[in-house]
């Protein structure tokens, strides 16, 4: 299911999106309160191992997001933050926005999984604006999540489409938060943010440290 990339003279094995979501899902423990950011992170819930009860929070006012409803049974007023139709799981609760963000900013949610444009070795995250001024900036709830949730997991491609690195010494895009990222899951590797910088937790099967380093601006620790 993996694909092979040739970049900077390195030959790399890359996880598909679904494999990456499944890898992140392994690290979501039973009983956790989890917020899944819009886009790719929403797919993580589908891969959480059987037997774990995970409570999903969505910032638009639901704790206990359930699976997608069958076609034709959608409730137009029951959506998640990605604006997808969802259901309410047993034990769910509805609330308004200031309460929802109190949960996020107040440290009540255990884990958030977010996408990113760039992550710095200091844990700085950039995921809301580029330097392209043509596009109006759109921040949403990302800044609130990163200051409040103790464990921020980032899930992204290791490099940009043009091959430029996303794991940097310092972010060049506007920041979402400073020193907030705990762990980064990419198609090529899993990395922890440590006081010294990125530490490799695991490499996607087939990749050498040297090859992953070749497509990473920040120095990788082992």
């Amino acid at each position: 299911m993996t694909t092979v990339l040739n970049l900077n003279g390195a030959r790399l094995t890359a996880l598909e999106d679904a494999e990456l979501a499944a890898r992140v899902a392994q690290d979501i423990p039973d009983g956790a309160y989890v917020n899944l950011g819009i886009g790719k992170p929403t797919h993580v819930s589908a891969y959480v191992p059987e037997g774990r009860e995970v409570i999903y929070h969505s910032e638009n006012g639901i704790l206990g997001v359930g699976p997608t409803p069958p076609e034709g049974e959608e409730d137009l007023e029951l959506i998640d933050a990605s604006k997808r139709y969802v259901t309410a799981a047993p034990g769910a609760a509805y609330f308004e926005h200031s309460d929802s963000f109190a949960m996020m900013r107040g440290g009540h949610i255990d884990i958030a999984v977010l996408g990113a444009y760039q992550v710095a070795e200091t844990g700085d995250l950039a995921n809301w604006a580029t330097l392209d001024e043509k596009f109006p900036p759109a921040v949403g709830g990302a800044m609130d999540l990163v200051v409040g949730v103790p464990r921020i997991l980032v899930m992204m491609r290791h490099v940009n489409h043009d091959g430029t690195p996303k794991l940097l010494k310092r972010c060049t895009y506007p920041l979402t938060g400073l020193g907030v990222v705990s762990r980064v899951y990419t198609d090529l590797a899993v990395l922890d943010v440590t006081p010294g910088g990125f530490r490799v937790v695991e490499l996607t099967k087939g990749n050498s440290l040297e090859d992953v380093q070749a497509v990473t601006e920040a120095k990788l620790l082992t």
């Binding site: 969505s58 910032e59 638009n60 006012g61 639901i62 409730d75 137009l76 007023e77 029951l78 959506i79 998640d80 933050a81 604006k83 309410a88 509805y94 609330f95 308004e96 926005h97 200031s98 929802s100 963000f101 996020m104 900013r105 604006a129 043509k134 596009f135 109006p136 900036p137 759109a138 921040v139 949403g140 709830g141 990302a142 800044m143 609130d144 200051v147 409040g148 506007p174 920041l175 979402t176 938060g177 400073l178």
Partner: protein
């Protein structure tokens, strides 16, 4: 006490040119589509719209933007899939934009409704969105001082309402509606169903004290 009005037109009639108008909703849920259409027909222009999004496709706030009625948008997420009218007006420099982190937006609105002079939040500290704002370090953590955000009017969508202005909501349609009711001088609620009897006091989400008028509008596009 009877806060019900018979039609959408009367409900939005008091909104003048240049008013600040909060509009409830998130994505496609909890949006007062009927009141927005009535505001479009009413003709008020030069509006400051405070809402989480800036409309999508040809519905809701996008209609107001398309018709050139909006001078400024204060929101957290203007650029959603299909937000073409916001993007057109923004690129042409025809609409001003203030982007506020979503939780800070909700909390600033609540602060206005709750009579607070501002609050310190860690959200946005050290980012572009804190530039020019007062900050301070408390116990080693950075905070930004954020100001309350009130409005002249709020347009809300609720599930049920009664003549006292009490509102209840359905599922995730609460979102910004309750705090916007609190923070506006004049809150107008469009409800799916107007109840002849008082709502159950345990089920009321927005107490009537925050709502100035209620109008039934059963349609949800």
């Amino acid at each position: 006490m009877d806060k019900t009005v018979t039609d959408l037109e009367s409900a939005v009639a008091p909104i003048p040119d240049g008013a600040s108008v909060m509009i409830g909703g998130f994505g496609s849920s909890g949006i007062p589509f009927g009141l927005i259409d009535a505001l479009l027909a009413q003709g008020a222009t030069g509006l400051t719209v405070i809402s989480n999004n800036a409309g999508a496709g040809e519905t809701g706030i996008a209609k107001l933007l398309k018709a050139g009625r909006v001078a400024k948008v204060i929101c957290s997420y203007p650029r959603s899939p299909g937000s073409i009218w916001f993007e057109k007006r923004y690129e042409a420099g025809e609409v001003a934009l203030e982007v506020v982190p979503q939780g800070t937006l909700a909390e600033r609105i609540r602060a206005a409704g709750a009579g607070l002079g501002g609050f310190l939040t860690p959200t946005g500290y050290g980012t572009l969105l804190a530039e020019g704002k007062e900050t301070r370090i408390i116990d080693g953590r950075g905070y930004v001082l954020e100001a309350p955000l009130p409005a002249d009017f709020a347009l809300l969508r609720a599930d049920r309402g009664d003549r006292w202005g009490n509102l209840s909501f359905h599922a995730t349609a609460r979102n910004f509606n309750p705090v916007m009711a609190m923070a506006s001088k004049h809150a107008v609620a469009e409800v799916r169903q107007l109840s002849d009897t008082p709502l159950d006091p345990e089920r009321v989400v927005t107490p009537g004290i925050f709502v100035q008028s209620v109008v039934e509008y059963g349609v949800r596009p």
